[in-house]
Assembly symmetry: C2
Homo-oligomer: 207 residues x 2
Amino acid sequence: MPVPEVEPGKTRPGGRTARVRAAVLDAAGDVLAEQGFAHLDLAEVARRADVGKTTVYRRWGTVANLVADLLLDMAEQSSPRTETGSLLGDLTANARLVRRTLTDPRQGALFKAVIAAATSDDRTAEALRRFYDTRIDEWAPCVRQAVDRGELPPGTDAREVIRAVSAPLYYRLLVGGGALDEAAADRAAEAAVAAARAGAYRGGGDG
Amino acid sequence: MPVPEVEPGKTRPGGRTARVRAAVLDAAGDVLAEQGFAHLDLAEVARRADVGKTTVYRRWGTVANLVADLLLDMAEQSSPRTETGSLLGDLTANARLVRRTLTDPRQGALFKAVIAAATSDDRTAEALRRFYDTRIDEWAPCVRQAVDRGELPPGTDAREVIRAVSAPLYYRLLVGGGALDEAAADRAAEAAVAAARAGAYRGGGDG
DNA sequence: TCCTAAACGATACTGGAGTTCCGTTAGTCT
DNA sequence: AGACTAACGGAACTCCAGTATCGTTTAGGA
């Protein structure tokens, strides 16, 4: 792959360039959701996006790059966090949001595909890590508030608690083990709260 | 793909056939561990296994099939569970075993690859699910013993507790969020015990 | 030990993913 | 408005993963 001095789309990001990017990312999402990461080929994405095959190969080049860009695009659309006043309420809201996302036909398949891509490409893995860092940062404050209220022991690692809510849901999505229903989401939140109360997440990073 | 009436390797499983299977699975594991699921091609596996390319395509046909067979092979080698007498001790032992497996260069990469393959192929997903069912069944008894001892509330879903130990470790392996060190393993076990004590895993399936 | 055919493997072939070339379209700047 | 060139896109090409063919080896049974 001949590396261009400046990658396309940077010096003239407006108009057509932006339209092409949007169309390609949209089509890529569709294909990933329908067929999974393994059967994704850029030619088909180009066809669906009504865009020249050459363009897709020039701007993204590999499946991994395309997926990484898709992830970047997804990270920009943030869904606001709800505040219920109690830790269990907040984490349950988070767990249900995650569950709803993962069980949505398009989004769920997309996440599976993105995670699969990240297992064999370092740049995609990095993009994925950043995506979740952003998401987790949005929710961490509710844990810190709980610490301030005295619901949780001081020194509790807020981000670790948020991850603890998601972990069992992703586990079900990727390796199985029961339905990904609302009861599972509620249980994930409940378990995270119980573990945090018991001090299992003390001592980590930020408090 | 012309489906044969009887798939190769079933009517004459001895001698050469078995040697070929072992060599191919071994080579496949190496390639998966080194390059990941995305860049796996059967021709290279054949080359490494010192086996005809035709043979690999005839017996396995697709990457997903090969990975599923590899998984079947892995499921047969069971590592015995240790008994420490306390729930936290048992689950910590389990968490550390899982962590050691996932951080081992070959095994860890292999698990990543297998999970990635399962995201886009139903048969691989089914094989993966069975693999974990077996593993989890091996460890579930220690939770039931804890229930009998009165350490956990009656009605606790044993398999769900075991999954709760693994979930955060797999989450770290696949989507990131901190090092996969022994402290993380110990924390996973501690959190699972705390959540189980609080009754977060009551009401599920077997008790 | 000998026979049958299951399974292997070397070789040649094919289709399509990814690349290159070059002409066309249209964003951006003055 | 006009010039400049970034970015797009059609078409032809390359290369190799996956397939087909057919002869060779060897497992399993008599």
